[in-house]
Amino acid sequence: MQITVKIYRHIPGVDTQPRYDEYTLDVDPKERILDLLENIKGFKDGTLAFRRSCAHGVCGSDAMRINGRNRLACKVLVQDLDTDQIVIEPIIGLDVIKDLIVDMDPFFEQYRSVLPYLINDDPLPADGKERLQSQEQRARFDDTTKCILCAACTTACPPFWANRKYVGPAAIVNAHRFIFDSRDHGAEQRLSRLSEPDGVWRCRTVFNCTEACPREIKITQAIAEVKEVLASGKINYKGVQIGPERVGSG
């Protein structure tokens, strides 16, 4: 099929204004948007700039706005869009460096601010040298372990568009992953950051983050759970185990 691809082009400091370049391509409906970009860059316009790495929906490099929605270019097929007019733009809320490449530093700054790593200063148990966790406790934060830091959620969030100081959904998801980990003792430090005026309270439950997440993380629910801990001071580590029990477990 023949399609038209309109791509946002801009080099701040060089171009006076952003523009949209249009390319006409013959494609297979099962091709991915990333394939179209590779095609354009390889055969039509080598100056086009975009990020990509694994190309299989794991690295989170190629988040962009595809027909107005934040998506990973490597996970969207042409046929998914149900149109022959495709508009590709950079994710919004972060500064454009070139074309579809944005400056991710403010995003990662917010991510680092929630201390996204296990904090436990207790001595290791001498016998097993392992901090045990039940399957239900592991299930409690399973959903939020899936984040690949693509920024699709944070840059789909209207409060973040208006105010870049807002910690944003991705950072809250990664805080959730450790706050609800029964082995972690750093919840109070994270909650201190998240209770700031630009912390978790800036979320207005728009649900754009949940809709944008390529990993289908229930982001708005995770944010609500963090708010609940801040309101009650109580963390419940017991989750619901999904799927069959491990073979041989007694």
């Binding site: 409060p159 963390i235 580590y237």
Partner: protein, 132 residues
């Protein structure tokens, strides 16, 4: 010697007590209270009585009961406080500086107070029937 044991399923943590947390809780509690307050108001005034039959006589009759006066003051105070807090949340996105947000908070609080005070004066003052 410490042994490997599974941690308990719940833990109490110290959470910072601050204005934003209190404002968020206020939003939830006032919303819960507004559900009966607003629904009873709508059902009574708009469905059972009907807006076209509300006149001074009806208001005088209703406010003869002090319970309805307290009810109406609670409705205006909580509905407006809930709305002002929502407006504060939205405006905070456009005013990132802490100083501007603080000033805005005071302005909205003052606005809430003025509107609520006008409502209270009206309700407490009651209905003065025109001379025939």
């Amino acid at each position: 010697m410490e042994t490997s044991t599974i941690a308990p399923n719940t833990r109490q943590v110290r959470v910072p007590k601050n204005y934003e947390t209190t404002a968020w809780k206020w939003m939830r509690y006032s919303a819960l209270l507004l559900i009966p307050l607003a629904w009873i108001h709508v059902i009574l005034q708009d469905v059972i009585v009907g807006v076209h039959r509300i006149d001074l006589n009806y208001v005088a009759l209703r406010w003869a009961n002090v319970g309805w006066r307290i009810y109406d003051i609670a409705l205006v105070a909580f509905a407006f406080a809930h709305g002002m807090n929502g407006l504060r949340q939205i405006l905070a996105e456009y005013f990132p500086s802490p100083k501007a947000r603080q000033t805005l908070g005071w302005i909205l609080l003052a606005l809430w107070f003025v509107i609520t005070a006008i409502g209270v004066v009206a309700v407490v003052g009651g209905v003065r029937m025109p001379k025939q």
